[in-house]
Symmetry: C2
């Protein structure tokens, strides 16, 4: 079964577009867990047991685990294994990988075979041959960065691009007709739609902090799933995001929330409070899906 | 001491711009090493002992180690530790990391504190705030991807960019004056030069497969060190690269070679053969430095 199929099943079963981010920082988890053998896994497991019927997928950013060394990676491997064994919920690894082809092959082994994720985020800067080793794993979801949620996203993603048709006689470049000018992030969105015709396993990252850009990307990719970070601490606008990003079928968005949900309480009731926050968020999203 | 200072000392001491890539693939190393407790580390250690006075730095791509799971990461950690303890040779971790600021902080911990590298490669697509957590480690070398060595580099890095001054009345964008048009990779090179004024620890990746582009980037950054992959299996042109890339002082390039050197032989003489290949390559490079 493809990642998209797994995702659609979970969306339907739990009536939810919410994705909980297990970006577990050992300095922020309840203190009573620190006496456990693997506090990070223990934290994740408890949250998962309390929230698995409220969401469409889990995501973890590998950086939080890699920062703890090999022990952190063991916690991540155990977390993904636990989800796969116990629940029918797909998992996204946020790793933003990409390198020259032969190296991307190694990254594909890391994320799909060692870590066993259902889906991974990748960075498009190196071009198609850097992404292809991931795309070829057609049962996996490949989520290409299009418009990221951070403030610096505009530094390069907003640059207006055209294709040079020839060098200009007075220096510089003569550009192709103006109709083809568009910001880099839209150029990338168009390429992703093209790649998806062949591989049928592409998604895109579109930050909730850029609802105007979301609208333009949705126009280019009317049916594709978007992973949407940036709600909560980052200040993304949920209402505008949903209005501009939902597909005709009132789906197509994976609304990610990490800190606001998993750190809802630092006491022994942390999982209960996370569940409450997740219900609130799921319901808030569903208001715009009717 | 900064990464650049360490690098310059090693260049002078060994009279070499060569960087050996320890992209060790367990399927390609000599069979007799497989009975060792940690074949990957054993292979690296033997190569390092035979080549450390021929080069200016070692590099490893983390993907080859991550693909082996936590055991692979242990081999990488041990390799870097071995180099630091035994030789005054700086180490580059090729990891092409970058994420939103708070996550890049975690990646900086991964690469500088857990793995203890002197320098790391990063991807610019997310913008300055994604790179800043690395740049702030001013004793470390931050190597930003500018023009990568793979064939797909041209997909996005060659797009001609301008800054939109306003929306065009007939749709699309009106661009700023034509003098400012340039390909994305040159725009990024300009930004790196700007960032370097503040942090003084920037380098760039410029592939040997693009000597024409190398010339343009050198013009923008006359003194900066470039990490140059793409010689050997990838087909980069060493002569043109050196002619177009060397600084006035006949330095400023870190010429990377991995497969051609480390897999020079699959027998028990592998390190001896690697040494021979490294000498050949060092001397070939030095021909253009007189």
């Amino acid at each position: 079964m493809s990642f998209q199929q797994k995702l659609e099943i979970a969306i339907k079963k739990n009536n939810s577009l919410l994705c909980i981010g297990l970006d577990t920082d050992i300095n922020k988890i309840p203190k009573h867990l620190l006496e456990k053998n693997d506090p990070v896994f223990e934290f994740n497991k408890t949250i998962i047991d309390k929230t698995n019927n409220l969401i469409c997928c889990y995501k973890a950013n590998i950086a939080y685990y890699s920062a703890l060394g090999t022990k952190g990676l063991e916690s991540l491997i155990d977390t993904i294994k636990y989800i796969h064994e116990k629940y029918d919920i797909p998992f996204i690894l946020d790793a933003k990988r990409a390198d020259i082809g032969s190296t991307s092959e190694q990254y594909a082994i890391e994320v799909f075979d060692v870590l066993n994720t259902d889906s991974v985020t990748v960075n498009p800067y190196l071009g198609i041959d850097a992404i292809e080793p991931f795309l070829k794993r057609t049962d996996k979801g490949i989520i290409i960065l299009c418009r990221t949620s951070n403030p610096g996203a505009s530094d390069f993603q907003d640059l207006i691009t055209g294709v040079a048709s020839q060098a200009h006689p007075r220096g510089g470049y003569r550009l192709a007709p103006q109709e083809s000018y568009k910001p880099l992030y839209l150029k990338i969105a168009e390429k992703v739609v093209e790649w998806n015709k062949k591989y049928e396993n592409c998604l895109m990252v579109v930050g909730a902090t850029w609802p105007g850009e979301m609208k333009k990307i949705r126009k280019i990719a009317p049916k594709m799933f978007f992973l949407v970070p940036g709600i909560g601490v980052q200040g993304g606008d949920l209402e505008k995001t949903l209005k501009n990003g939902l597909t005709k079928e009132k789906s197509g968005l994976i609304i990610h929330s990490a800190r606001a949900i998993i750190y809802a309480s630092s006491g022994k009731d942390f999982a209960e409070k996370s569940r409450k926050k997740a219900i609130e968020m799921r319901d808030l999203i569903n208001k715009y899906r009717i």
